[in-house]
């Protein structure tokens, strides 16, 4: 009799177990999905590889790659690639994917059934047993909804991580240009110091010959000293920029002995056509896409909460009880909380608020992106014009002044000190040129980042498209003909594309 009863009951139990085991089989946690998308997106946007250093073998491979790269002359692209493979902060960020993936998985897991068992004493004549298996079944019904939300969240996480990868790439590129500019400025400072050193040397010799006053000598030496102090500052600056790069590339020890070209690359002649930049950025920005996903997730979440907040859970179960007398009873059970005090009103409000918040954040980010794109496009255009002006007008003029000063010196109208002073002014102009060139590369890099990782060829107009020009002197400036461009319609087309 018991065997038969048990068989029927156990059949139910066995059936449930089979279901569970079967489900378990489908819920094996697979590690590392999602990273592939990041890898693909990165390759697509900036043509670089990323790797999640999870195995010793991967770590060794990356280590070898870095060793090899740091022996060659480092380029901006090379530095970015090393950073994407080796930056420890980025590796930590990849774990966000692991976390999000776990969350996604967790969202798809039904709650474990609960087994309760009690034994009561005194155990006469039979041990009183009570067992209860409970399974939250509403939870199983709600699972698809929850997975729906969790998938949106997972997408958002992937986008955020990819965005972080691109941000790291941009930061590394900027740091690389900063380093090159610092080296180039150091070169200029060294030239200035040669000039002041020669001037000071000349003053000392003239003093020894009895030809100048102590005051003149002191002033020359002071000028030379200041120049040397500025040189030391420039040297410190180079070290700062180098270390920044080392941090970003995750290098230490012998790897930090890398070499790079100590000058900024020449400015390309292509000119920016800023008309479609804003919509391009809106379309391609991954953090904006992530925010969009967040809105979707919050919307889905609101839907789920609406459905589930009244009855968030309900259990069904199987109950077996054996009385001490030996009689056993079995039966299903059902339990659910009564929505007397909490019928989910707070949860619904919270979900609504979260949705609205996500929407506002999305809008705010979009506005910010548009503004930054406009700002950076402007900055890049103006920096480009300044660089052109330096190259075509200001530097040649300064060089001409030095040449004429040399002639005036030859004609004994000015002395060597005055000649050196004119040369120093030429070098200073060179430094300002480097600064402008650095501004260009920095603005360009930031604009690439703001536009979603790279600037496609379509945003570059052929040279000659008119933009608002740098203010310059008018007639009488014979050498500025090339740089003269009339005011154009710079502001017009950028912002009238719908969000």
């Amino acid at each position: 009799m018991i065997a038969r009863t048990i068989t029927r009951q156990q059949a139910l139990l066995l059936g449930a177990c089979a279901l569970v085991l079967g489900a378990n089989g489908c819920t094996r946690f697979k590690d590392g999905i999602g990273f592939n998308d990041v890898h693909l997106a990165t390759g697509q946007r900036i043509g670089k590889q990323v790797e999640w250093q999870k195995s010793a073998e991967a770590r060794q491979r990356i280590h070898n790659f870095v060793e090899q790269q740091s022996k060659r002359t480092l380029t901006a692209d090379g530095a970015v690639q090393i950073a994407l493979l080796n930056n420890p902060g980025l590796q930590a960020t990849y774990e966000d994917l692991g976390i999000a993936q776990a969350d996604l998985f967790q969202a798809g897991l039904p709650q474990n059934p609960r087994l309760e068992g009690e034994i009561r004493f005194p155990a006469q004549p039979k041990t009183a047993i009570e067992t209860h298996i409970i399974q939250n079944f509403l939870d199983i019904l709600y699972l698809p909804l929850k997975r729906h939300v969790a998938r949106a969240e997972f997408e958002a996480a992937k986008l955020r991580v990819t965005h972080e990868v691109l941000r790291t790439a941009a930061e590394t590129k900027k740091a690389f240009y900063d380093y090159q500019a610092a080296e180039q400025a150091l070169g200029m400072r060294i030239a200035v110091t040669s000039a002041t050193e020669a001037s000071s040397d000349l003053a000392r010799r003239r003093f020894r010959a009895g030809n100048i006053t102590d005051l003149e000598l002191a002033e020359e030496r002071a000028l030379d000293g200041e120049s040397r102090l500025e040189l030391a500052e420039a040297q410190t600056d180079v070290i700062d920029k180098r270390e920044m790069l080392n941090r970003l590339m995750g290098l230490w020890g012998e790897q930090t002995a890398w070499r790079a070209e100590p000058r900024l690359p020449d400015m390309p002649s292509e000119e920016l056509n800023p008309h479609c930049l804003e919509s391009l950025a809106i379309e391609r920005r991954l953090d904006l896409a992530a925010a969009r996903q967040q809105v979707i997730a919050a919307g889905r979440n609101l839907g789920v909460v609406r459905w589930t907040s009244l009855f968030p859970e309900a259990d069904i179960g199987l109950h077996y009880e054996r009385e001490p007398e030996g009689t056993g009873t079995t039966g299903p059970s059902l339990g659910f909380p009564l929505p007397l005090f909490d019928w989910g009103q707070a949860r619904r409000a919270k979900a609504s608020a979260q949705l609205r918040q996500a929407q506002q954040r999305y809008a705010a980010l979009a506005i910010e992106i548009r503004s930054r794109v406009r700002q950076l496009a402007s900055r890049m255009v103006f920096a480009q014009q300044r660089v052109k002006f330096y190259r075509e007008v200001q530097l040649p003029v300064r060089e001409e002044a030095t040449r004429q000063a040399q002639l005036q010196y030859n004609a004994m109208q000015i002395g060597a000190g005055e000649l050196l002073r004119v040369k120093r002014e030429e070098i200073e102009t060179g430094r300002n040129y480097i600064q402008a060139l650095h501004d260009y590369w920095e603005a360009r890099g930031e604009l690439e980042q703001e536009a979603g990782g790279m600037l496609p060829a379509s945003v570059f107009a052929p040279p000659g498209v008119k933009h608002k020009s740098v203010p310059q002197t008018q007639a009488g400036d014979e050498t500025s003909k090339k740089a003269d461009q009339p005011a154009g319609e710079q502001h017009g087309g950028m912002h009238h594309h719908g969000q």
Binding site: I212, Q404, Q406
Partner: protein, 472 residues
């Protein structure tokens, strides 16, 4: 010494003219020295109101016959038209691109296409009519410096006449009743116009010369300019810092030499219309009496013999000598900066500075740099100069580079000349050229080449020496 005719002389000479005896004029006996108070009074400008005013004119003097024509080195004499016995001249004031020496040109204000204006040469008693056309961009007037004339012909714009506006032509007319070396120059906005060159020489030969006629008669206008190196227009606002000093608007090596035959009577007239600087003009190889100022002839008993004559601003000085020493003799201002062209006084003192490795240091940033000035300014530098400039110091000479510029010219006296063209450099008779002392000479005279045989300054001449106080 009379420099104007007395009435008696004039009546005689006009009588001679009426009788057609123009030739008789030449042989006029020289009158005695008139030193009476009456004559002195008549010499003064005040005398223009008196019986000497509206002096009747004499027949025009003829060049070559009545006087030795003056030579204006690097310049020229303005030709005249004779109209009813009046010498008619036409001056045109205009902007001229002028060359100070090959390589240095500037836009100046001159007359008739040249700078300075042409020399006007007349004879005492001539009546002159001078037309002045103004083609400058500013108003002008012409003043006849040191000449007796009716007040209204004096050429002081605003005071004695209206300003000659650009495009206008004025007429000046007067009869000369004096002789000497005089000048003409703008008398409107003098500072600007004279600094740009509007001036010229006005030579009046005596009607009855008391001294023998010179064989060679040269006239120089001295002037100064401020032309920063590389510019091509003089700066007329400069007050003290001039850098170009000129004989007839030229600097050495652009100054034409003055050539004379051995034994010639040479007369040199100097006129100074610079803005601020007097010039002590020095002639090598000779001394000479100064025979005339712009006020007239100096009588012989009052002559001062000089080797250097100081010509102040606004003055003229004339001296004479017999060219009895052959050679190439410099005639130059003795102010040392005036014999340099475009001297840059901003160049720092580099004498005695030991350059060491300074040159390499500087060349690392200025590849064309070369040290200069360590041994003064005597080294001829072969370096690129600013456009439109000449080396500060001069020209190639027969022995070496001549480190002279500015107010420097050469009197060339030769014993055998076929013409007065530039005869080239003097060929010195052997044994008369200072050169390296030979070993034989040095041994004989006990001279050591390193200077050790020379006497050293005695203590008594040393500045540290203090006179011993007499014992108390």
């Amino acid at each position: 010494m009379a420099n104007e005719l007395t009435r008696r002389k004039m009546i005689i000479s006009s009588a001679a003219a009426l009788t057609g005896g123009a030739a008789a004029m030449k042989g006029m006996p020289a009158l005695a020295d008139a030193t009476t108070p009456e004559h002195s009074h008549k010499q003064s400008a005040l005398a223009t109101e008196g019986p000497h005013a509206n002096r009747q004119r004499l027949p025009p003097g003829r060049p070559g016959q009545d006087y030795t024509p003056v030579i204006t080195p690097n310049g020229w004499t303005l030709p005249y038209k004779l109209v009813d016995g009046v010498k008619v001249f036409h001056l045109v004031a205009e902007e001229v691109e002028h060359e100070f020496a090959p390589g240095l040109r500037a836009k100046c204000w001159g007359f008739n296409g040249g700078v300075h204006g042409p020399t006007i040469e007349v004879v005492e008693g001539d009546r002159v009519r001078i037309y002045v056309t103004n083609k400058l961009s500013a108003g002008t007037s012409t003043h006849w410096h040191g000449i007796f004339l009716p007040n209204g012909m004096d050429g002081v714009a605003g005071l004695t006449q209206r300003i000659i506006r650009p495009g206008g032509t004025f007429k000046y007319e007067f009869t000369l009743r004096q002789h000497g070396t005089h000048m003409y120059h703008s008398h409107h906005d003098e500072m600007t116009q004279m600094a740009l060159g509007t001036m010229g020489l006005f030579i009046i030969h005596p009607r009855n010369p008391e001294r023998p006629r010179p064989d060679r008669d040269f006239a120089f206008m001295l002037s100064e300019w401020q032309i920063p190196v590389g510019t091509s227009r003089p700066n007329p606002n400069e007050m003290t810092d001039f850098n170009v000093f000129t004989f007839n608007a030229r600097v050495f090596p652009g100054t034409e030499p003055t050539v004379a035959k051995l034994g010639d009577r040479v007369r040199i007239r100097l006129a100074n219309l610079g803005a601020m600087d007097h010039h002590p003009i020095h002639l090598h190889g000779y001394h000479f009496p100064v025979i005339e100022t712009d006020g007239g002839q100096i009588r012989e008993s009052a002559w001062q013999t000089e080797t250097t004559v100081l010509v102040g601003v606004g003055q003229t000085r004339t001296f004479e000598f017999i060219a009895d020493a052959p050679g190439d003799w410099p005639l130059h201002c003795h102010m040392t900066h005036h014999v340099m062209t475009q001297m840059g006084d901003k160049f720092p003192n580099m004498i005695g500075v030991k350059p060491g490795d300074l040159d390499e240091k500087v060349r690392s940033i200025l590849p064309d740099y070369m040290r200069m000035g360590h041994a003064g300014m005597g080294e001829k530098m072969e370096m690129e100069m600013p456009a439109n400039s000449v080396p500060m110091l001069g020209g190639d000479g027969p022995f070496d580079y001549i480190t002279m510029g500015g107010l420097f010219t050469i009197l060339k006296v030769r014993s055998d000349l076929e013409s007065y063209d530039d005869p080239g450099w003097y060929e010195h008779p052997p044994g008369t050229v200072a050169d390296r002392a030979g070993a034989i000479d040095m041994d004989r005279d006990g001279i050591a080449g390193d200077g050790s045989s020379a006497s050293k300054i005695p203590d008594s001449a040393r500045p540290a020496y203090r006179q011993k106080m007499p014992p108390k």
